[in-house]
Each structure stands twice: as C-alpha cells, then as structure tokens.
C-alpha cells in the first residue's frame, strides 16, 4: 500500500501514468453558439477539407472541425506523453507566505516537458498524424523557440524531418534555442529568409526586418504547399491545437479532485491561446455544466494586446495573406512586434475559439506590462525555485494581483495559474530586467489603428 500525502500540506499533486487522461476535450461540443466559419480568402466562402489538405493530414483537418465532445488520444501518442506527463500541479506554499495572502495558489507546471513548455502536447500528435499519413517532412515557424523545439523533438520520435523558420529577432537573441532544435535533429532558418518568395519580398522592402510570427508562418506555409511530402504544423491558434492542449486541464481537474478543492480563479497567459485554452477549456466545460464557477482570466502583454485592444474581425493568420481568413481578435496581420526581450505571445491574432469564447463573455482579459511580469517572475523564482518563461510571468503577475486583493479582503480564494514553461533559455531577458535595461512598450489604440485599417474586407 502506497503512502499518500496530506492534501493540505502537499507541495506537488501528482497523477500516476495510469491516471493520465486518454481523451482530449473538444469545447465546440458544449458552446451555446458555434464560432464563425473560417473563410477561403478568394471566394470568402467557408473552407472545406480539400482547401486545407495541401498543408495538413486529414486526421487533423477532421479534428479542426470536429464537434464530438471527446477525441481518443492514440496509444503511440500516449507512449510519448509518458516521458513527462502527467505534469505536476504545485501548491505555491512559499509564494503564498512571501505575499502574506490567505489565498491558496496552485500552478500547473508544463516546464517538465522535453522542450520546457506545453508545446509538445500538440507537437507530438501533429507529428504522429503526419507520419501516419506518409508525410516525411514538417515545416513550421517559431517565435521564442518553444514551438520549434517541440516540433523538432516530436519529429525525432516518428522519424520525420523538421524545418523551422525562427523570427529573426529571436534567432539573434536566443542562440541556445537554435542549438536545442538542432540537438533534437531539426533545421533552423532565420525569418525572413532568402529561401521563400514571402521572405525575399519582406527583405527587399526591409533588409533589416526583425521578422514576425506572421512572416515566419508565410515562409513555412509556402515551402510546405510546394512539396506533396511536406506538411505544415502550427503551434497555436487552431482548434486542433487547442484540442490537444486540453490534456493540461483534464489532468488539473483530476488533481484538484484528488485534494478536494476547486479553483475560484484561473489565470493563464495568451499569445495564440493554446496554453490558456488547454488549461481552461475543461474547467469551462464544468462551468457551463454548472458544476463549478471559476472566474477565467486571460493575461496578455500590454505590448501585444490583441484581446484587450485589438478588433474582432476576419484576418489572415500570416503576413503574406496565404492562410484562410479567421474571425479573431487581431492587431492586423501587418503588425510587427518590437523585438523586446519578452519571449513569445507576440502574435497579431488570437485563436478564433478563444476570441469567440471571449465575445460570449465566458472569459475575462487583462494586459500586463513587462516590468510587472518580470518582477513576478523573479519573486516566483526566489520562492518556488522555478525561473518561469517570460510568457507565464504574465499569468504570475495577474496571480499576484489576485492574491494581494485576497490579502486586502481576507478571501481564501483558490487560484490556479498556468505555468506553461521554464525560462532557462530566456535568461537574457531576466538579465536585461535585473540590469534595469528592459524596454517596455504599452501599445496604444492609435498605434494599432494603422494595421487594423489594412484588414481584408469581408461582408457581414
């Protein structure tokens, strides 16, 4: 008989591998209204499977439009998941004490994965389904580098080649990411590159372009579309990506059940929305069913505020306009983020599904400054011992806000934070923060207006 840990005293709430969820959860099955359709940019009609088949295997296309509530996780994917899953749920005893809060703070930690973030949760099934379909190479973009690392790892598991366009600013700032991708067997190009029409056009206009996720997506999509043995993989935004990430929330539900608690507030950072959707959608199911009532709060950078300051409109997923049109919160596909030391979350658009859920009023959103985020990250490192990636410091900053409100009101709220990765390869950003050199830039609506004005015209 195994000795179990006192739930109130536990630091780590763990699941055994046998307790790992065997299905992903599809929020589309439970929403009161479906999200607006994805449109073909030429016809402005809803896209069908054939429109997507040059880029994705049919298994993923079907998942993209599936309305089944649950999707079985293949055994071959579960086998790889077991390298790090189930991931731990931590009780932040030492952070609570440092804050002097009566709140109970929990964090679901995805930094235990091979890439150090939640990204392998979808990289692995994407590589698997592509390998099953006979594809031999995947292309993709990467910003901070987490996604590229994850896909390179996943491709190594199923014998696929992996070619990655990394946003130039990140490529220059984070040389370790390139090496880690190469260690897993992947190939990395800085983006914009001379290897694609999209890249050459950008470089012709601006040889010093720092790049953007939108540009890198254009390059990866262009290469994949030209070769029948090559497909493209996206690390966030799309429905099937968020579907794969729901294993995070499904585990967290089981972990809270183990200690007999439910969260009152859930905070997660949002870039494209996959970590946030992955943790929160299973809780949203419970909320929609009336079984619990957590406040669910998205946290984005004040320098890239698609939910809090962007418009809700049809836009391209990439800069060159090669992708279908998706209705989403967007800063405009021409948006180029400042090349500031702040990791990912620097995408012009927000997942259409997250955008829709936000429009339905099922979630809240706030924006945080870089200074607040890194301050929370340093405090977290010194108390909990994990140096968070810049992305989840946004969630931590919002978590600290909530915990300090509880200190004022005396409320013993249970706060669940998405700690989606560690910051080992982002330490240059911490160095800049500690040296007082961190460049902060709160994007104004005026600055966004220029990009938003260029959105494609789509009849209502």
């Amino acid at each position: 008989m195994r000795v179990m840990t006192d739930p109130e005293r536990a630091t780590k709430i763990l699941l055994t591998e046998a307790e790992m969820p065997r299905q992903w959860y599809n929020l589309l099955a439970d929403l009161p209204t479906p999200p607006p359709p994805v449109l073909h940019p030429g016809t402005l009609q809803p896209v069908g499977p054939d429109d997507l088949s040059p880029l994705f295997p049919m298994a993923l296309i079907l998942q993209e439009v599936a309305t089944d509530r649950y999707v079985d996780i293949p055994e071959e994917v579960l086998d790889v998941y077991r390298l790090w899953r189930p991931s731990p749920l931590f009780r932040a005893h030492r952070l609570e004490k440092a804050l002097g809060t009566p709140a109970k703070i929990f964090y679901k930690y995805e930094g235990v994965s091979p890439a150090g973030s939640h990204k392998p949760n979808t990289a692995v099934p994407q590589a698997y389904y592509n390998a099953q379909a006979g594809i031999t190479r995947l292309t993709t973009e990467t910003g901070a580098g987490q996604w590229g690392t994850s896909l390179a790892f996943a491709c190594a598991q199923y014998g696929l080649d992996c070619e990655i366009w990394q946003v130039r600013a990140s490529y220059d700032q984070k040389p370790y990411r390139k090496i880690m991708i190469e260690t897993f067997g992947g190939t990395v190009h800085p983006s914009p590159s001379e290897l694609t029409n999209a890249g050459r056009a950008i470089l012709a206009a601006n040889p010093d372009s720092p790049g953007s996720l939108g540009i890198a997506i254009s390059e990866a999509v262009e290469v994949a579309a030209q070769d029948p043995n090559t497909n493209y993989a996206l690390g966030s935004v799309l429905n099937h990506v968020l579907l794969h990430q729901t294993i995070i929330g499904e585990e967290a539900l089981r972990q809270f059940a183990q200690i007999g608690m439910t969260p009152d507030v859930i905070v997660g950072c949002t870039g494209g929305g996959s970590n946030f959707g992955g943790l929160t959608f299973p809780f949203l199911r419970e909320k929609l069913a009336g079984r619990m009532d957590p406040v669910i709060r998205a946290v984005e950078p004040a320098s890239c505020p698609s939910l809090t300051k962007g418009v809700y409109a049809y836009d391209f997923g990439d800069t060159a306009g090669m992708t279908p049109l998706m209705k989403m919160h967007t800063l405009g596909h021409d948006f180029i983020p400042d090349p500031i030391h702040a990791g990912g979350l620097r995408y012009h658009g927000m997942s259409p599904l997250i955008s829709h859920v936000y429009e339905l009023g099922l979630i809240e959103a706030v924006a945080k400054s870089q200074q607040d985020c890194f301050a929370a990250g340093v405090q977290f490192a010194r108390t909990e011992g994990i140096v968070p990636a810049p992305e989840p410091t946004h969630a931590l900053a919002a978590c600290v806000d909530e915990a300090l409100r509880c200190k004022e009101t005396g409320e013993e709220k249970v706060i669940l934070t998405a700690l989606c990765g560690h910051g080992h390869l982002d330490l240059a950003a911490y160095g800049a923060y500690l040296a007082g050199d961190l460049v902060d830039h709160e994007l104004s609506r005026d600055e966004i207006a220029e990009f938003v004005a260029a959105l494609p015209a789509v009849p209502a």
Copy 2:
C-alpha cells in the same frame, strides 16, 4: 483508491512526498576500514572541529566526522526538498529500443531541481545549518555554474546573502549561469578576481588565467575566513556533502522496490564525486550487507582523469593551499583544466571518501572522451527528450557501452544511470559538438606528472 501503473510498462517510477526519505545515509558507518584522516597543513596532525570552525557551522563539522549510520533531515529542509523531491526514476524504453538492447535502462533524474541538477540536495541543508548558526553570508566557488546556482537558490530560502566566484572560462562561456544566479539573488565574480590575495597573485602571474575550481575555492575561502558572519560552502568532495546527496540513492532504492527490480550495474559521472556518491552509497550499503550485488562504476572525463590516472596522495583542496590536506585521487592542486566546452567534472581531486572506496575495490572507474559523451547525449535527447548536462553524458556513454555489451551477450541486465542534470545552460557545448568544433584532449600521465611532482610531502 489511486490507480497505479504497470511496473514493466511504466516510464516514470514516482514516490509520493510522504514516501520521501527522512534520513541521509552515512557510508562511514559501514565501511570495513575508515578513510585516512584529514590533516592540518601546518602540523600534519588530524584536523579537529576548531580548525574548521572559521569556515563551517558546527552542525556540518559534526556531520563531516559523524559515524552514525543515519542522520535526520530537518523538517525545514524537507519543506524545501518537496519543491522537487522525490525526483523521478525513469525507464528509458525509447533509448533501449534505439540501441536494440535487451538491457533494461533506468535513469534517476535530478534535473527537476531549481538549479537543474543534484546540487540543491546539499545546498539547501548547508544554507539551513548556516542560517541556524547565525551566519548571514555564504561564499563559494562554481565551475559549470550548477553549484553556484544551487547555493544562490538555497540562500534565498533562508534569507542569506550569497557570493560566488565562478571559474573565468565558464563565466565567459556561460553568461546564462550568471543571470540565473542573480535571478535567485546571488552575486557572481569571475575567478581569478582582483578581490582576493589569492586571485591577485594568480592574475599577477597570468593576467589571462582561465581559472580553475581550485583557484575559485581559494578566493571564496579567503573571503569567508576574514569575516565572522560569513561562512564558506563546498559543493562536492567533503563527507557532509556526499551525506546530503544520499537522498538520491535512498529514493532510488524505494523506487526499485516499487517495481520489484534491483540494478545489476550502476553508472555515474564523477567530478568531485557528490552525485556519484549520492546515488551509489545506499546501494553500496546493500551490497556490503549482501542484499544485492551491483557493479558500481564511476565515469570521468579523459581530460580530467583523477581516478584512472591520478595518484592517491595527500593534497590540498584548493590551488593556494589554504585548505586542510586530504588523501585523495588527485591530478595535483596546480592542475588547470583546458577551458573546453564540457561543463563540470574539472576538479583536480576526487572526494576522499570515493577515493577510499575505490582503493578498497568496492567500485570501478572508467574515463570517456568528449566525443563519446556528446554522442550519447544527443542520442539520449532524441530518444528520451531530455538534453543532458555535459557531466551526466559521461555516465550515459558508459551506460550505452554496457547496453551494447548486453546486446552482444543477450544479457537482460538492469542498468541504473545517474542523470544528474539537464543541459539547458550548456547548449553552447552541444553547438560545438554538432558543428564538429568540440576540442577533445585525453590527458596523459606525462602531462599529469608535472603537477603531481608538486604535491606536499606528508610522512606515511
């Protein structure tokens, strides 16, 4: 009732926090003969507690000479250990498959700790006992940076200042280590520095000195000895350090008991010996008691082969000759390692306790080249998803050798490997290896002769 995982199929063998060992194991209680005494460098008589009290708190001095079989771990230390302990034992299913071996390969992974290695296992109790004794600052050396990071983290837990001398070559090659130490609140100086007599003397002789652990120890010891509120902390070599690390092996024993297996071969890398001792000493207890009979094999770099090519003699622990004399396998305290991309393990001496155990014939030792080590590290990353620190790639290279021997003989040996840390902050070394630029240097006995000739004369 919790659902448990099939032992044969499991990837991770986990212990609950309640199952975490509550005592460290002291091998001195079970050895057939005690190791030779530590000597005062002036009198050549065995040192007493008073000789050590300018540097260490009495609790650690008593642990250094204790002969009790078990030492209770303080509750305040267990509270911090729970941030990452018990650490997982992994079955390397995917590496086994890639090698085509009938051997069952397990690795005990210490990279889940705040610093990313086993070092916090002793940093935390060292900081705790010093805080209990009223000390307000700790000084130390660091080579690859794991130990400095660990002590900075530990000091943050108990409110101590932490000042670190980092070997110059590593300071220049690994800027992220400095930032991580600073994120935890520590202060870092490159060594040799202008801040100490020892550092100034080295710089006067060689302004471009790449430094060494021996030099950095001299600097840290000098500063600690001058201030009654400051103590010194050592990250390896000493008995109390190895004592604290035995929680690794105690956990591994419980994890093997959980799946009903015992290891036939245990391999671990050795620099000062703390990770190796920490994993293997509890198994050595079982071996000495006749309850199991594993082969225990130390693996060291061919470029710093203290066990396989050094002499067994009294030597200083530091370069300036400020420490007591310890009988150990040594390359001579003047030894300066090549500033090659290979992380830690670059210390001139070996733990006296490991050296004694080696002389008793209770363990074996082999040396591995950098090429073999990084090849094993890359294969491990691509199969198991963890990029290992350069140090444990030595153990992995020896593990691969053993597994391939099993492939030839058909033996289904159970191999336990000490995976003492991840390589996220050592990726530059992987970059050099992948680019074919890794400098390899197998140290010859002739090269060592010069340093060994300068050993202090100690009558037998």
